[in-house]
Amino acid sequence: MPTLPVPTFTQVVFVLIAAFTVISGLGVVVARNLFHSALLLAATFFGVAGLYVMLEAEFLAVTQILIYVGAVATLITFAIMLTRGAMHGETNPLNRQWGKAALFAFLFLVGLLGYLGGIPWPAPFQAIQADEGLIARLGEQLVTRYMVSLEVMGLLLMVALVGAILLARDDKP
């Protein structure tokens, strides 16, 4: 009888966080209420942030919470609350195509697994120094190597903002 290895603390935590992420991700899709979906989406973002912490990428984790949970998901709930029709009851019904959608999702998963299997993961990975040096390097990269993409993104957001203001503007003086 082979002895089962005693799981380390890290492994236990990883399993818990991963399970949390997957379950809430599933919940986003199957929840019958739009608002519940939005909340579960926030929970999923949280789980992903937890996974980042496991990878010792605290900066990424906190940014994930700051932007996705703090801003994006809040905005989604805000939008749902403004539309009263989509508030209570079954506002997120399954439509007739859910079977096909599930099939394609499954196929995509299979394909993805096949691709992932082929990647040579660096098994005994080097711990990255997650200190300010890393963040500083990140900042440097953003304004040198990824300069153009950063600016384009900024422009895009700007355009979106102006468009939103134009849409929402009352014609009253």
Partner: protein, 326 residues
Amino acid sequence: MDWLNLLVYPAVRVLVLFFVLLTGFAYLTWYERKLLARFQVRYGPNRAGRFGLLQPLADAIKALFKEEIVPDHVDRPVYLLAPALAIVPALIIWAVIPVAKDFPAVADVPIGILWILAVAGIEGYGVILAGWSSNNNYSLLGALRSSAQMISYELPLGIFLVSILVLAGTFSLVELVEMSRPWWEWLWLWLVFPLFFICILAETNRSPFDLPETENELVAGFQTEYGGMKFALFFMAEYINMITTSAIMATLFFGGWKGPFADQYVWLGPVYLFIKVVALLFLFIWVRASVSRPRWDQLMRFSWQFLLPVSLMHLMGSAVFTVFLK
């Protein structure tokens, strides 16, 4: 072995922290009631115990023994989750605040300031969930106001934080407190402290920014449908938030645990921090007693048209100072 280091040791710290915060919350309510009474030519609680010191205990017992009512029309799971979600951010933000020399409350993560920003970002969830799940117009309006207010005031708050970050050159609050700053830097910080304090008032939904729960308009706003212990949790969240933000302000603007001899005698650190927090809490209550509430659109206008440009200018100033003077 990693079980002990990773689990038991922090757990003990966390327990101590929670105990301190919950006691602090209880006596903050007493402190506020006494102070408000003094501002309003009254006596305040003076029946339970000497100077009414047992009043928080009486309140706690009352809240605990209230019947737990869940109204029929609410969205039950979300409704029950909301008070818990409200209180969690208020507690976990403490993890990174240094209480004495080389001694953060739980852990010295290298991203302390970002942690504060991130947790501040999720603070709104309790309110939003409560407002939505109560299925009540007052609650909904309260939640809407709350979300909009938090989003609006988080921006200048975050930019002020970044400004401090640029000046300090470190993400860690422990280092931030321990580093020595030149006099002009203190001055430059204190210049914006009033504005930062206004943002904090808005973030904690304290009067005069208590629009999500405006008694005169929305009855009790997002917490209209809550009673008993669930209401007490919201109450607790608000007050612990006050303590927490006071500690953050003390740390960022007033040197945290620092004070005469705090380097030699480590136990003096928490004492100094306590004194600073109490002084800042006095400010919260003072504002509450003396100022009436602006209308909600005036509030938003103030944030977007005044606070945001000023915070951006402060950030630019900080950057210029850092480049040329440091």
